[in-house]
Subunit: 174 residues, 2 copies
């Protein structure tokens, strides 16, 4: 049975810098009409950077949650940018570490009920530290923890970020 | 240094069934003004149901991605509902399995750049099958796979859902 829902009418609600919102009227396989709220997002990239058995985490204030969070370095894919370029650029911008290569771990769907965002995950195992000049509004601290410490922080609820936990899952599953 | 961003003005953009959107003007610690796009979401619950060494996955069409996805059973927290009730209700509604108890694994932040959604994850290891009467618009198939099969599907990119991958990470980290 075809489970697809067919678009009847799409209404644009919002065009932001990070997200775009539309409300789509759809025809369900049952014949009923329904509405779907969709957040369009051009996708992101996150880097699990592990060197000398230490995992790189950054801490930054996340406005939506009104708290500081520990996460792996990540950022939004800019227009016409390929995910690997995004990942290496964000790693350098956020931590000052420059890497030449990365291994693709997978692409995750963070919240499939309302957004089409895909976060691509890469593993970096070799990078060189450069001087970092932060944008004055980017307040990011960089930390290195052992894998055991990081897993313990997931367990204790200190690390709650989904892309970080997924990256660890891919890494342990390699 | 205080990294908090202070709200200057909040503009309500959209009030939907699943999500709400606001655009907030904020004062950054640097003194600059900026804008934050925030998707307000009342949160969800997902259940990792493992019985007789088999993991329960459901397959359903996800409109935002225009594809069918394999995920653990999950749903949105209804008003005044506690997460455990949501989880057990959704497990029953989506799979027909009734459980009496569940173990809390953790609460994940799916996409911290723009939403404040929290997805609470629980583990269920004992449930009884009841007859299930689907809403005619809920086309959900239930499957059982071994943990090894599920991990292989994550590795191969067949399972891409973040809450499912995170739940596996918590489970393997127990």
């Amino acid at each position: 049975m075809d489970k697809r829902e067919k678009l009847i009418k799409s209404t644009k609600i919002y065009d932001g810098t990070v997200i775009h919102l539309r409300e789509d009227e759809v025809l369900c396989p049952s014949g009923n009409h329904s509405y779907r709220e969709v957040v369009d997002h051009q996708g992101g990239v996150a880097i699990l950077f592990i060197q000398n058995n230490k995992v790189c985490l950054i801490k930054q204030f996340r406005y939506a949650y009104e708290e500081e969070m520990l996460e792996i370095p990540a950022g939004k894919i800019e227009k016409n940018e390929d995910p690997l370029t995004t990942g290496l650029r964000e790693l350098e911008e956020e931590t000052g570490y420059v890497a030449k290569k990365a291994t693709y771990l997978g692409g995750i769907y963070p919240s499939c009920g309302y957004t089409n965002e895909i976060i691509h995950l890469y593993l970096v195992t070799e990078a060189t530290k450069k001087e970092v000049h932060f944008d004055e509004d980017e307040n990011i601290d960089t930390y290195f923890f052992s894998l055991e410490e990081v897993l313990e922080m997931v367990k204790k609820g200190i690390i709650k970020d989904a892309k970080t936990i997924c990256a660890l899952q891919y890494y342990q599953n390699l």
